[in-house]
Amino acid sequence: MSIVSITRATLVKDLRLEWRSKDAINSMLFFSLLVVVIFSFAFDPTAEESRRIAGGLIWVAFLFAAVVALNQTWARELRNQVMDAYRVSPAPANGLFLAKALGNFIFVSVLEALMTPLFVIFYTLRPLGPAYQLVIVAGLGTWALVVNGTFFAAMSLRTRAREIMLPLLLFPILIPALLGMVEATTAILTGEYSAKFWIALLVAYDVVFTIGSLMLFELVLHAE
Protein backbone atom coordinates (compact mmCIF):
# COMPACT_ATOMS: atom_id res chain seq x y z
CA MET A 1 0.00 0.00 0.00
CA SER A 2 2.71 2.40 -1.09
CA ILE A 3 2.16 6.13 -1.19
CA VAL A 4 2.66 6.10 -4.94
CA SER A 5 -0.30 3.78 -5.60
CA ILE A 6 -2.54 5.67 -3.19
CA THR A 7 -1.54 9.02 -4.72
CA ARG A 8 -2.13 7.71 -8.23
CA ALA A 9 -5.52 6.25 -7.33
CA THR A 10 -6.66 9.42 -5.58
CA LEU A 11 -5.37 11.66 -8.35
CA VAL A 12 -7.09 9.57 -11.02
CA LYS A 13 -10.32 9.68 -9.00
CA ASP A 14 -10.05 13.46 -8.60
CA LEU A 15 -9.39 14.00 -12.30
CA ARG A 16 -12.31 11.76 -13.19
CA LEU A 17 -14.56 13.71 -10.82
CA GLU A 18 -13.30 16.95 -12.35
CA TRP A 19 -13.94 15.62 -15.83
CA ARG A 20 -17.42 14.36 -14.93
CA SER A 21 -18.68 17.70 -13.66
CA LYS A 22 -16.66 20.36 -15.39
CA ASP A 23 -18.47 23.12 -13.49
CA ALA A 24 -15.45 23.79 -11.24
CA ILE A 25 -12.97 24.18 -14.10
CA ASN A 26 -15.35 26.20 -16.27
CA SER A 27 -16.23 28.67 -13.55
CA MET A 28 -12.54 29.05 -12.66
CA LEU A 29 -11.53 29.60 -16.30
CA PHE A 30 -14.10 32.37 -16.64
CA PHE A 31 -12.98 33.86 -13.31
CA SER A 32 -9.36 33.94 -14.53
CA LEU A 33 -10.47 35.63 -17.74
CA LEU A 34 -12.22 38.30 -15.65
CA VAL A 35 -9.12 38.80 -13.52
CA VAL A 36 -6.93 39.33 -16.59
CA VAL A 37 -9.36 41.80 -18.17
CA ILE A 38 -9.74 43.78 -14.96
CA PHE A 39 -5.96 43.88 -14.44
CA SER A 40 -5.51 45.06 -18.03
CA PHE A 41 -7.98 47.89 -17.45
CA ALA A 42 -6.39 48.84 -14.13
CA PHE A 43 -2.85 48.94 -15.56
CA ASP A 44 -2.56 50.09 -19.14
CA PRO A 45 1.15 51.03 -19.60
CA THR A 46 2.94 51.68 -22.88
CA ALA A 47 4.76 48.70 -24.47
CA GLU A 48 8.18 49.72 -23.16
CA GLU A 49 7.04 50.19 -19.58
CA SER A 50 4.80 47.11 -19.58
CA ARG A 51 7.79 44.75 -19.58
CA ARG A 52 8.93 46.17 -16.26
CA ILE A 53 5.68 45.69 -14.36
CA ALA A 54 4.18 42.75 -16.27
CA GLY A 55 5.96 40.21 -14.02
CA GLY A 56 4.32 41.49 -10.86
CA LEU A 57 0.99 41.92 -12.55
CA ILE A 58 0.84 38.43 -14.04
CA TRP A 59 1.82 36.69 -10.82
CA VAL A 60 -0.63 38.64 -8.67
CA ALA A 61 -3.36 37.70 -11.15
CA PHE A 62 -2.27 34.04 -10.98
CA LEU A 63 -2.22 34.25 -7.17
CA PHE A 64 -5.75 35.66 -7.19
CA ALA A 65 -7.11 32.86 -9.37
CA ALA A 66 -5.10 30.18 -7.53
CA VAL A 67 -6.45 31.14 -4.09
CA VAL A 68 -10.03 30.80 -5.33
CA ALA A 69 -9.16 27.40 -6.82
CA LEU A 70 -7.30 26.29 -3.66
CA ASN A 71 -10.34 27.10 -1.55
CA GLN A 72 -12.16 24.37 -3.49
CA THR A 73 -9.46 21.75 -2.83
CA TRP A 74 -11.33 19.95 -0.07
CA ALA A 75 -14.86 20.94 -1.12
CA ARG A 76 -15.69 17.46 -2.46
CA GLU A 77 -14.21 15.73 0.56
CA LEU A 78 -16.37 17.86 2.85
CA ARG A 79 -19.63 17.55 0.94
CA ASN A 80 -20.46 14.04 2.15
CA GLN A 81 -17.79 13.89 4.88
CA VAL A 82 -15.80 11.63 2.55
CA MET A 83 -12.66 12.82 4.35
CA ASP A 84 -13.63 10.59 7.29
CA ALA A 85 -13.70 7.54 4.98
CA TYR A 86 -10.11 8.34 4.03
CA ARG A 87 -9.01 9.09 7.61
CA VAL A 88 -10.42 5.80 8.94
CA SER A 89 -8.59 3.79 6.28
CA PRO A 90 -4.94 2.78 6.82
CA ALA A 91 -3.96 4.82 3.73
CA PRO A 92 -1.11 7.27 4.52
CA ALA A 93 -2.12 10.92 4.88
CA ASN A 94 0.68 12.02 2.56
CA GLY A 95 -0.88 10.02 -0.25
CA LEU A 96 -3.97 12.20 -0.03
CA PHE A 97 -1.84 15.33 0.27
CA LEU A 98 0.33 14.61 -2.76
CA ALA A 99 -2.71 13.70 -4.86
CA LYS A 100 -4.48 16.90 -3.90
CA ALA A 101 -1.34 18.98 -4.44
CA LEU A 102 -0.73 17.46 -7.88
CA GLY A 103 -4.41 17.87 -8.73
CA ASN A 104 -4.21 21.52 -7.77
CA PHE A 105 -0.98 21.90 -9.71
CA ILE A 106 -2.69 20.66 -12.88
CA PHE A 107 -5.77 22.76 -12.17
CA VAL A 108 -3.84 26.00 -11.57
CA SER A 109 -1.51 25.31 -14.53
CA VAL A 110 -4.56 25.06 -16.81
CA LEU A 111 -5.72 28.45 -15.51
CA GLU A 112 -2.26 29.90 -16.13
CA ALA A 113 -2.15 28.42 -19.60
CA LEU A 114 -5.32 30.37 -20.38
CA MET A 115 -4.28 33.61 -18.67
CA THR A 116 -0.76 33.89 -20.11
CA PRO A 117 -1.68 34.31 -23.80
CA LEU A 118 -4.29 36.88 -22.79
CA PHE A 119 -1.63 38.85 -20.94
CA VAL A 120 0.65 38.63 -23.94
CA ILE A 121 -2.15 39.97 -26.13
CA PHE A 122 -3.19 42.78 -23.81
CA TYR A 123 0.38 43.88 -23.11
CA THR A 124 2.10 42.86 -26.43
CA LEU A 125 4.80 41.21 -24.33
CA ARG A 126 7.96 39.90 -25.98
CA PRO A 127 10.57 38.57 -23.50
CA LEU A 128 14.09 39.93 -24.18
CA GLY A 129 15.73 37.39 -21.88
CA PRO A 130 15.79 33.55 -22.32
CA ALA A 131 12.09 32.74 -22.80
CA TYR A 132 12.42 29.01 -21.94
CA GLN A 133 13.27 29.99 -18.36
CA LEU A 134 9.76 31.45 -18.06
CA VAL A 135 8.34 27.93 -18.15
CA ILE A 136 10.73 26.82 -15.39
CA VAL A 137 9.82 29.80 -13.23
CA ALA A 138 6.10 29.22 -13.85
CA GLY A 139 6.41 25.54 -12.89
CA LEU A 140 8.42 26.18 -9.74
CA GLY A 141 6.28 29.14 -8.74
CA THR A 142 3.01 27.28 -9.26
CA TRP A 143 4.28 24.34 -7.20
CA ALA A 144 5.31 26.70 -4.37
CA LEU A 145 1.82 28.22 -4.52
CA VAL A 146 0.06 24.86 -4.64
CA VAL A 147 2.01 22.83 -2.06
CA ASN A 148 1.55 25.49 0.63
CA GLY A 149 -1.96 26.27 -0.60
CA THR A 150 -3.11 22.67 -0.25
CA PHE A 151 -1.51 22.40 3.19
CA PHE A 152 -3.08 25.61 4.49
CA ALA A 153 -6.42 24.76 2.87
CA ALA A 154 -6.44 21.58 4.97
CA MET A 155 -5.45 23.62 8.03
CA SER A 156 -8.16 26.21 7.43
CA LEU A 157 -10.78 23.43 7.37
CA ARG A 158 -10.39 23.38 11.14
CA THR A 159 -11.30 27.04 11.54
CA ARG A 160 -14.55 28.97 11.54
CA ALA A 161 -13.88 31.47 8.74
CA ARG A 162 -12.59 28.92 6.23
CA GLU A 163 -12.48 31.00 3.02
CA ILE A 164 -10.61 33.94 4.53
CA MET A 165 -8.22 31.85 6.64
CA LEU A 166 -6.48 30.29 3.62
CA PRO A 167 -5.11 33.57 2.19
CA LEU A 168 -4.45 34.84 5.73
CA LEU A 169 -2.20 31.86 6.41
CA LEU A 170 -0.78 31.47 2.90
CA PHE A 171 0.27 34.97 1.87
CA PRO A 172 2.80 35.83 4.63
CA ILE A 173 4.57 32.49 4.17
CA LEU A 174 4.45 32.89 0.39
CA ILE A 175 6.19 36.30 0.25
CA PRO A 176 9.71 35.03 -0.54
CA ALA A 177 8.38 32.75 -3.29
CA LEU A 178 6.19 35.52 -4.68
CA LEU A 179 9.18 37.86 -4.70
CA GLY A 180 11.17 35.16 -6.48
CA MET A 181 8.48 34.59 -9.14
CA VAL A 182 7.96 38.28 -9.82
CA GLU A 183 11.64 39.19 -9.93
CA ALA A 184 12.52 36.18 -12.08
CA THR A 185 9.76 36.95 -14.58
CA THR A 186 10.72 40.63 -14.71
CA ALA A 187 14.38 39.69 -15.15
CA ILE A 188 13.51 37.44 -18.10
CA LEU A 189 11.05 39.90 -19.67
CA THR A 190 13.40 42.89 -19.41
CA GLY A 191 16.52 40.76 -19.99
CA GLU A 192 18.48 43.23 -17.81
CA TYR A 193 19.83 40.73 -15.30
CA SER A 194 19.85 36.96 -14.98
CA ALA A 195 17.10 35.12 -13.13
CA LYS A 196 19.47 32.38 -11.95
CA PHE A 197 19.40 33.42 -8.29
CA TRP A 198 15.63 33.67 -8.17
CA ILE A 199 15.21 30.28 -9.80
CA ALA A 200 17.60 28.81 -7.21
CA LEU A 201 15.56 30.49 -4.46
CA LEU A 202 12.32 29.02 -5.85
CA VAL A 203 13.89 25.56 -5.97
CA ALA A 204 15.01 25.91 -2.34
CA TYR A 205 11.56 27.18 -1.35
CA ASP A 206 9.81 24.26 -3.10
CA VAL A 207 12.12 21.67 -1.51
CA VAL A 208 11.83 23.13 2.01
CA PHE A 209 8.06 23.44 1.99
CA THR A 210 7.37 20.16 0.23
CA ILE A 211 9.34 18.34 2.93
CA GLY A 212 7.75 20.48 5.66
CA SER A 213 4.25 19.72 4.35
CA LEU A 214 4.92 15.99 4.05
CA MET A 215 6.15 15.89 7.65
CA LEU A 216 3.32 17.90 9.19
CA PHE A 217 0.28 17.05 7.02
CA GLU A 218 -0.70 13.95 8.99
CA LEU A 219 -0.94 16.04 12.17
CA VAL A 220 -3.10 18.64 10.45
CA LEU A 221 -5.37 16.08 8.75
CA HIS A 222 -6.17 14.29 12.00
CA ALA A 223 -6.38 17.47 14.13
CA GLU A 224 -10.08 17.26 14.96
Binding site: I175, L179, A223
Partner: protein
Amino acid sequence: MKRIFPILALLTGAFLSYALYLALEVAPTEQTMGDVQRIFYYHVPSAWTAFLLFFINLVASVLYLVRRIPSADRIANWVVIAIGGVTCIAAFMVKQLPQGVEPSSVATTGIGIAAIYFLIRRYFSGDAADALAVVSAEVGVVFCTVVLVTGPLWARPVWGIWWTWDMRLTSTLILWLIYVSYLFLRRFSSSSQTAVLAAALAIFGALDVPLVYFSIWFFRTQHPQPVIGGGGSIDPRMLHVLLINWLAFLCFAGLLCWSRYRLEIVRRQVEEAQALKSLESVR
Protein backbone atom coordinates in the same frame (compact mmCIF):
# COMPACT_ATOMS: atom_id res chain seq x y z
CA MET B 1 4.05 34.27 44.63
CA LYS B 2 1.63 37.15 44.27
CA ARG B 3 3.72 39.45 46.51
CA ILE B 4 6.82 39.36 44.28
CA PHE B 5 4.95 40.67 41.22
CA PRO B 6 4.40 44.29 42.39
CA ILE B 7 8.00 44.49 43.64
CA LEU B 8 9.33 43.29 40.29
CA ALA B 9 7.00 45.68 38.49
CA LEU B 10 8.39 48.61 40.45
CA LEU B 11 11.97 47.52 39.85
CA THR B 12 11.36 47.15 36.12
CA GLY B 13 9.70 50.56 36.04
CA ALA B 14 12.72 52.13 37.72
CA PHE B 15 15.10 50.33 35.38
CA LEU B 16 13.12 51.52 32.33
CA SER B 17 13.14 55.12 33.55
CA TYR B 18 16.88 54.93 34.11
CA ALA B 19 17.35 53.54 30.62
CA LEU B 20 15.14 56.29 29.19
CA TYR B 21 17.18 58.91 31.00
CA LEU B 22 20.40 57.39 29.57
CA ALA B 23 18.97 57.32 26.06
CA LEU B 24 17.78 60.93 26.13
CA GLU B 25 20.47 62.68 28.12
CA VAL B 26 23.63 60.68 28.63
CA ALA B 27 24.20 59.08 25.22
CA PRO B 28 26.30 61.30 22.87
CA THR B 29 24.45 63.02 20.04
CA GLU B 30 25.22 61.52 16.68
CA GLN B 31 26.96 64.05 14.34
CA THR B 32 25.10 63.45 11.09
CA MET B 33 21.57 62.59 12.25
CA GLY B 34 21.42 64.63 15.47
CA ASP B 35 19.11 63.80 18.33
CA VAL B 36 16.57 61.88 16.18
CA GLN B 37 19.16 59.08 16.13
CA ARG B 38 18.15 58.34 19.74
CA ILE B 39 15.15 56.47 18.38
CA PHE B 40 17.85 53.83 17.79
CA TYR B 41 17.82 53.05 21.56
CA TYR B 42 14.16 51.99 21.38
CA HIS B 43 14.00 50.65 17.82
CA VAL B 44 16.84 48.11 17.98
CA PRO B 45 16.23 46.66 21.50
CA SER B 46 12.54 46.17 20.64
CA ALA B 47 13.55 44.29 17.49
CA TRP B 48 16.00 42.04 19.36
CA THR B 49 13.38 41.34 22.03
CA ALA B 50 10.76 40.53 19.39
CA PHE B 51 13.11 38.13 17.57
CA LEU B 52 13.98 36.44 20.89
CA LEU B 53 10.28 36.01 21.71
CA PHE B 54 9.54 34.57 18.26
CA PHE B 55 12.43 32.16 18.74
CA ILE B 56 10.97 31.09 22.10
CA ASN B 57 7.65 30.54 20.32
CA LEU B 58 9.38 28.32 17.77
CA VAL B 59 11.12 26.29 20.50
CA ALA B 60 7.87 25.91 22.47
CA SER B 61 5.99 24.83 19.32
CA VAL B 62 8.65 22.28 18.33
CA LEU B 63 8.70 20.95 21.90
CA TYR B 64 4.91 20.67 22.00
CA LEU B 65 4.87 18.58 18.81
CA VAL B 66 8.01 16.57 19.54
CA ARG B 67 7.10 15.61 23.10
CA ARG B 68 4.11 13.64 21.85
CA ILE B 69 6.33 11.01 20.21
CA PRO B 70 9.27 9.78 22.40
CA SER B 71 11.48 8.87 19.42
CA ALA B 72 10.98 12.33 17.90
CA ASP B 73 11.85 13.85 21.27
CA ARG B 74 15.23 12.11 21.35
CA ILE B 75 16.02 13.02 17.74
CA ALA B 76 15.16 16.67 18.43
CA ASN B 77 17.52 16.75 21.42
CA TRP B 78 20.39 15.51 19.30
CA VAL B 79 19.56 17.92 16.49
CA VAL B 80 19.66 20.88 18.88
CA ILE B 81 22.96 19.75 20.40
CA ALA B 82 24.33 19.39 16.87
CA ILE B 83 23.16 22.91 15.93
CA GLY B 84 24.80 24.34 19.05
CA GLY B 85 28.04 22.45 18.44
CA VAL B 86 28.29 23.20 14.73
CA THR B 87 27.63 26.91 15.26
CA CYS B 88 30.41 27.11 17.84
CA ILE B 89 32.92 25.25 15.65
CA ALA B 90 31.93 27.20 12.55
CA ALA B 91 32.31 30.47 14.47
CA PHE B 92 36.03 29.94 14.85
CA MET B 93 36.72 27.96 11.70
CA VAL B 94 35.06 30.16 9.09
CA LYS B 95 37.68 32.64 7.89
CA GLN B 96 35.76 35.66 6.60
CA LEU B 97 32.70 36.33 8.75
CA PRO B 98 30.31 39.06 7.58
CA GLN B 99 31.81 42.43 8.59
CA GLY B 100 31.27 43.48 12.18
CA VAL B 101 30.52 39.94 13.42
CA GLU B 102 33.06 38.34 15.79
CA PRO B 103 33.42 34.58 16.22
CA SER B 104 32.61 34.97 19.93
CA SER B 105 29.13 36.35 19.26
CA VAL B 106 28.36 33.55 16.78
CA ALA B 107 29.48 30.96 19.31
CA THR B 108 27.38 32.47 22.09
CA THR B 109 24.35 32.43 19.78
CA GLY B 110 24.92 28.74 19.12
CA ILE B 111 25.17 27.97 22.82
CA GLY B 112 22.24 30.29 23.51
CA ILE B 113 20.01 28.38 21.08
CA ALA B 114 20.77 25.06 22.76
CA ALA B 115 20.47 26.58 26.25
CA ILE B 116 17.05 28.09 25.56
CA TYR B 117 15.82 24.83 24.05
CA PHE B 118 16.81 22.70 27.02
CA LEU B 119 15.68 25.31 29.55
CA ILE B 120 12.18 25.44 28.07
CA ARG B 121 12.18 21.65 27.68
CA ARG B 122 13.02 21.32 31.37
CA TYR B 123 10.43 23.75 32.80
CA PHE B 124 7.50 23.59 30.34
CA SER B 125 5.80 20.25 29.89
CA GLY B 126 3.11 19.49 27.24
CA ASP B 127 0.29 22.01 27.61
CA ALA B 128 2.55 24.50 29.37
CA ALA B 129 4.72 24.62 26.25
CA ASP B 130 1.64 25.47 24.21
CA ALA B 131 0.70 28.24 26.66
CA LEU B 132 4.26 29.58 26.39
CA ALA B 133 3.93 29.54 22.59
CA VAL B 134 0.76 31.67 22.77
CA VAL B 135 2.33 34.09 25.22
CA SER B 136 5.61 34.55 23.35
CA ALA B 137 3.77 35.02 20.05
CA GLU B 138 1.45 37.68 21.46
CA VAL B 139 4.09 39.67 23.35
CA GLY B 140 6.43 39.23 20.37
CA VAL B 141 3.86 40.83 18.06
CA VAL B 142 3.52 43.78 20.46
CA PHE B 143 7.28 44.44 20.41
CA CYS B 144 7.34 43.89 16.64
CA THR B 145 4.63 46.53 16.25
CA VAL B 146 6.84 48.94 18.21
CA VAL B 147 9.68 48.26 15.77
CA LEU B 148 7.45 48.84 12.74
CA VAL B 149 6.19 52.12 14.20
CA THR B 150 9.55 53.53 15.34
CA GLY B 151 11.30 52.46 12.09
CA PRO B 152 9.44 54.82 9.74
CA LEU B 153 9.45 57.57 12.41
CA TRP B 154 13.23 57.36 12.25
CA ALA B 155 13.50 57.00 8.46
CA ARG B 156 11.27 60.02 7.69
CA PRO B 157 13.42 62.82 9.19
CA VAL B 158 16.75 61.22 8.23
CA TRP B 159 16.08 59.90 4.70
CA GLY B 160 12.83 61.69 3.87
CA ILE B 161 10.91 58.47 3.27
CA TRP B 162 8.46 56.65 5.54
CA TRP B 163 9.32 53.13 4.45
CA THR B 164 12.31 51.52 2.80
CA TRP B 165 12.66 47.88 1.78
CA ASP B 166 15.68 47.70 4.04
CA MET B 167 16.69 44.15 4.83
CA ARG B 168 16.11 44.24 8.57
CA LEU B 169 12.95 46.32 8.46
CA THR B 170 11.40 44.14 5.73
CA SER B 171 12.16 40.85 7.47
CA THR B 172 10.67 42.32 10.65
CA LEU B 173 7.52 43.22 8.72
CA ILE B 174 7.21 39.72 7.24
CA LEU B 175 7.77 38.13 10.68
CA TRP B 176 5.06 40.44 12.02
CA LEU B 177 2.67 39.30 9.24
CA ILE B 178 3.44 35.62 9.92
CA TYR B 179 2.81 35.91 13.65
CA VAL B 180 -0.34 38.01 13.25
CA SER B 181 -1.69 35.24 10.99
CA TYR B 182 -0.59 32.82 13.76
CA LEU B 183 -2.71 34.71 16.29
CA PHE B 184 -5.62 34.78 13.82
CA LEU B 185 -5.37 31.01 13.41
CA ARG B 186 -5.52 30.53 17.18
CA ARG B 187 -8.48 32.89 17.44
CA PHE B 188 -10.54 31.39 14.61
CA SER B 189 -9.68 27.74 15.23
CA SER B 190 -12.77 25.67 15.94
CA SER B 191 -10.81 22.46 16.52
CA SER B 192 -9.86 21.09 19.92
CA GLN B 193 -6.36 20.54 18.48
CA THR B 194 -5.57 24.24 17.99
CA ALA B 195 -2.16 23.75 19.62
CA VAL B 196 -1.13 21.27 16.93
CA LEU B 197 -2.27 23.54 14.10
CA ALA B 198 -0.55 26.57 15.60
CA ALA B 199 2.68 24.63 16.18
CA ALA B 200 2.68 23.51 12.53
CA LEU B 201 2.21 27.12 11.39
CA ALA B 202 5.00 28.32 13.72
CA ILE B 203 7.36 25.76 12.18
CA PHE B 204 6.34 26.85 8.67
CA GLY B 205 7.00 30.43 9.71
CA ALA B 206 10.46 29.50 10.97
CA LEU B 207 11.24 27.63 7.71
CA ASP B 208 10.24 30.82 5.91
CA VAL B 209 12.64 33.18 7.74
CA PRO B 210 15.93 32.20 6.07
CA LEU B 211 14.20 32.32 2.66
CA VAL B 212 12.87 35.77 3.48
CA TYR B 213 16.37 36.88 4.44
CA PHE B 214 18.01 35.65 1.24
CA SER B 215 15.26 36.95 -1.05
CA ILE B 216 15.34 40.44 0.52
CA TRP B 217 19.17 40.45 0.55
CA PHE B 218 19.32 39.79 -3.19
CA PHE B 219 16.38 42.13 -3.81
CA ARG B 220 18.47 44.83 -2.06
CA THR B 221 21.52 44.29 -4.25
CA GLN B 222 19.34 44.89 -7.32
CA HIS B 223 17.41 47.87 -5.94
CA PRO B 224 19.91 49.65 -3.61
CA GLN B 225 18.20 51.88 -1.09
CA PRO B 226 19.30 53.55 2.18
CA VAL B 227 19.93 51.16 5.08
CA ILE B 228 18.30 51.93 8.45
CA GLY B 229 20.89 52.68 11.16
CA GLY B 230 23.82 52.03 8.86
CA GLY B 231 26.45 49.39 9.56
CA GLY B 232 29.98 50.19 10.72
CA SER B 233 31.40 50.41 14.21
CA ILE B 234 29.48 52.16 16.99
CA ASP B 235 30.63 54.56 19.70
CA PRO B 236 31.24 52.46 22.88
CA ARG B 237 29.17 54.82 25.02
CA MET B 238 26.28 54.43 22.59
CA LEU B 239 26.69 50.67 22.70
CA HIS B 240 26.60 50.82 26.52
CA VAL B 241 23.29 52.73 26.50
CA LEU B 242 21.92 50.38 23.86
CA LEU B 243 22.67 47.29 25.97
CA ILE B 244 21.20 48.91 29.11
CA ASN B 245 18.04 49.65 27.17
CA TRP B 246 17.93 46.14 25.81
CA LEU B 247 18.26 44.71 29.32
CA ALA B 248 15.45 46.99 30.52
CA PHE B 249 13.26 45.89 27.61
CA LEU B 250 14.02 42.24 28.35
CA CYS B 251 12.92 42.68 31.97
CA PHE B 252 9.77 44.43 30.81
CA ALA B 253 9.07 41.70 28.24
CA GLY B 254 9.71 39.05 30.92
CA LEU B 255 7.17 40.71 33.19
CA LEU B 256 4.62 40.96 30.38
CA CYS B 257 5.15 37.30 29.46
CA TRP B 258 4.86 36.16 33.04
CA SER B 259 1.57 37.95 33.67
CA ARG B 260 0.16 36.88 30.27
CA TYR B 261 1.25 33.31 31.07
CA ARG B 262 -0.53 33.38 34.44
CA LEU B 263 -3.59 34.75 32.63
CA GLU B 264 -3.42 31.97 30.04
CA ILE B 265 -3.10 29.21 32.65
CA VAL B 266 -6.06 30.50 34.70
CA ARG B 267 -8.09 31.03 31.49
CA ARG B 268 -7.54 27.39 30.53
CA GLN B 269 -8.48 26.20 34.00
CA VAL B 270 -11.66 28.29 33.98
CA GLU B 271 -12.52 26.97 30.53
CA GLU B 272 -12.00 23.42 31.71
CA ALA B 273 -14.04 24.02 34.86
CA GLN B 274 -16.90 25.49 32.86
CA ALA B 275 -16.70 22.55 30.47
CA LEU B 276 -16.64 19.88 33.14
CA LYS B 277 -19.03 21.87 35.41
CA SER B 278 -16.78 21.14 38.37
CA LEU B 279 -14.55 23.30 40.52
CA GLU B 280 -11.66 21.22 41.71
CA SER B 281 -9.46 22.16 38.74
CA VAL B 282 -9.39 25.91 39.52
CA ARG B 283 -6.44 26.73 41.81
